[in-house]
């Protein structure tokens, strides 16, 4: 029953970015995964395969939506094939105002922009699969993300031979 409240709050946060800054300071830091040293690129950008991981709650219409009833969030993820049409995507995420992304998913998952950069030779190619997930996790769901989803997401990217990942908040 708190979904309407979260949706309303998300609109307020979007209108007033200073509130998000306060939220960020309050939420504290997460050090479950230490900051690693920087990986060296294997290929130059014009040859690299690029994938996007978005916390904007994007998934295929045919996939199960993210669970909005668990107050700890949903630490799972969905894989989104490269050439999915906007009409086949959904955004399930009550913690940010996704009106703009509902109109044009490139606001949080810029697959069309990547295709253009690939066509222009700025990047090598668009990876075959991308990842939709949620932010705003706590407790057991944050643990699920850290212990399971990050491992599975990394494996998916490795299987696809991804060279560069662009990570996007909601």
């Amino acid at each position: 029953m708190s979904r309407w409240r979260n949706r309303l709050l998300s609109k307020v946060y979007t209108r007033f970015p200073a509130l998000s800054e306060r939220y960020g300071r309050r939420s504290g830091s997460f050090d479950d995964i230490p900051l690693p040293s920087l990986a060296s690129p294997v290929r130059s950008l014009p040859e690299a395969s690029v994938a996007v991981v978005t916390a904007g709650g994007v998934h295929l219409a045919e996939q199960a939506p993210f669970d909005m009833n668990d107050p700890e969030g949903d630490g799972s993820f969905r894989s989104v094939p490269r050439q999915t049409r906007q009409a086949d995507l959904r955004i399930t995420h009550d913690y940010y105002d996704h009106t703009a992304a509902d109109e044009d998913v490139n606001c949080v998952l810029p697959l069309d922009r990547l295709e253009e950069l690939s066509r222009a030779g700025v990047i090598g190619r668009v990876a075959p699969r991308h990842v939709g997930m949620m932010g705003h996790l706590t407790g057991a769901q944050l643990g699920r993300l850290v212990d399971r989803s990050t491992v599975e997401i990394t494996r998916l990217l490795e299987e696809d031979g991804v060279d560069v990942v662009v990570a996007v908040p909601g």
């Binding site: 998000s20 960020g24 991981v53 490139n106 922009r113 295709e115 950069l117 990394t154 662009v166």
Partner: protein, 93 residues
């Protein structure tokens, strides 16, 4: 988002992470961070604004080559609509 990027980077795949909330980036920095002063949910810009979205995406990709220390931050100068974005590339006529 920072944690997921850390895990991917630790596996050897270079990452660049966008953010619209500075305090969150400072609390849990990703390996490479690009701050843009846009709204939540519109990290790449307005719906259907191809030039703006490409500019942010290209700036993020450029940060792969310029950030040299873990947790480094690049702040983009873009001011939403009050900006001349370069013409987009690779757009089908």
């Amino acid at each position: 988002m920072g944690l997921v990027a850390r895990a991917i980077e630790a596996a050897g795949i270079p990452t660049v992470t966008l953010s619209v909330v500075r305090s969150m980036t400072e609390a849990t920095p990703a390996p490479r961070n690009v701050l843009v002063r846009f709204r939540l949910g519109q990290v790449f810009g307005e719906p259907h604004n191809v030039a703006q979205q490409q500019a942010v995406l290209r700036a993020a990709l450029d940060a792969l080559g310029t950030i040299e220390t873990p947790g480094g931050v690049v702040e983009l100068p873009y001011r939403w609509r009050r900006e001349e974005y370069p013409p987009p590339v690779g757009v089908r006529a």
